[in-house]
Amino acid sequence: MAMAWIWTGMVVLSVGYGIYAGTIDAVGAAAMEGAAAAVELCLSMAGIMCLWNGVMSVMRSCGLTESLSRLFRPVLGRLLPNACRDEETLSALSGNVSANLLGLGNAATPLGIKAAQRMAVGCGGKASDELCLLVVLNTASIQLLPTTVAGVRSALGAENAFDILPAVWLASVISVAVGLLAARLLARLWRD
């Protein structure tokens, strides 16, 4: 329902302000353009999206997700020591992180939910510190290849769609680090 309000708000605001500012004829034309632009964008990025999803699928068939998962076990053990005492939670967690890294949202979410459900047992509906940390980790993006964004860039005629990669990695690392720090800090300060 939230999206219904946001969308309605955007349209009503445009129309209201358009009438006030005398730009309403442009607003009508822009609505048509926007709808057409959405389809054009999807069509022109379709090839790239398919190619990179194909590459990801090859990586998955090679067992790269499992290798990455093994790599993350020790890190997760330090980050979420209580949750990782349970073997099944640990394997769901490491699977979640490695699927997130490879941009496999469809695989990452069910694993993350499984870990969250196991970690929430006995919490009485109140998020534990480790559960907050897991959620913060998942709300900060850690995707190695942002394929959708690269698809948009290439569809719009970027010279090198992936030249933003180092910048994306740097921004992701800073964002995750700040999220983890904020969670650690708030865990100490939060009164409830």
Partner: protein, 174 residues
């Protein structure tokens, strides 16, 4: 040398060779993944039609400009270009909405411009925070989320600031 120019061709060759060496049917896996890509596109297309319509209307009416002017002092103090104001507001709430605004920014300013790159990096380095929180806590039966939302939003803000900073640092523009 610009390493990202090598990244795509080398990655393709590496993945193919690695797969073949592990006796994986590389071609079949590639085709299956491509089909999955089509399915993802098919899922975002209807949402994108609705949201691109709204985003273009906002831009044409002048609301976007008002928003940018309103938030400019705060954003400039944080080193974030004010043109991305609408993107920052929608990013934690709607993934398709952010994609709609981000691609509109890239189309208007050019994908290789400072603003276009910052928008792309912002999209690539942040997530749909509120959606993720709702999914995780909802399915785990958590009602008291404590500090998860402020911590996640702090990460988002840091991501936005870092995106602008990283683009300035790496492309020395802006």
């Amino acid at each position: 040398m610009d390493f990202s120019a090598y990244l795509v061709p080398l990655l393709l060759a590496f993945v193919a060779l690695f797969g073949v060496s592990r006796r994986v049917d590389v071609y079949n896996a590639l085709a299956q993944g491509a089909e999955e890509g089509l399915r993802i596109l098919l899922r975002i297309l209807p949402a994108l039609v609705g949201l691109m319509t709204a985003v273009h209307m906002l831009r044409a009416s002048g609301v976007t400009e008002v928003l940018e002017k309103l938030l400019a002092p705060a954003l400039e103090a944080l080193g974030i270009p004010p043109e991305t104001a609408a993107l920052l507001l929608i990013r934690p709430v709607s993934g398709s909405g952010a994609l709609a605004i981000g691609s509109e920014l890239m189309a208007t300013h050019g994908p290789d411009s400072y603003i276009g790159r910052v928008a792309a990096v912002m999209l690539g380095s942040t997530e749909t925070t509120f959606y993720t929180i709702a999914v995780y806590f909802g399915s785990a039966g958590i009602r008291r989320t404590r500090y998860a939302i402020p911590a996640a939003l702090a990460a988002d803000l840091a991501g936005f600031m870092a995106a602008a900073f990283a683009v300035r640092l790496i492309f020395s523009a802006g």
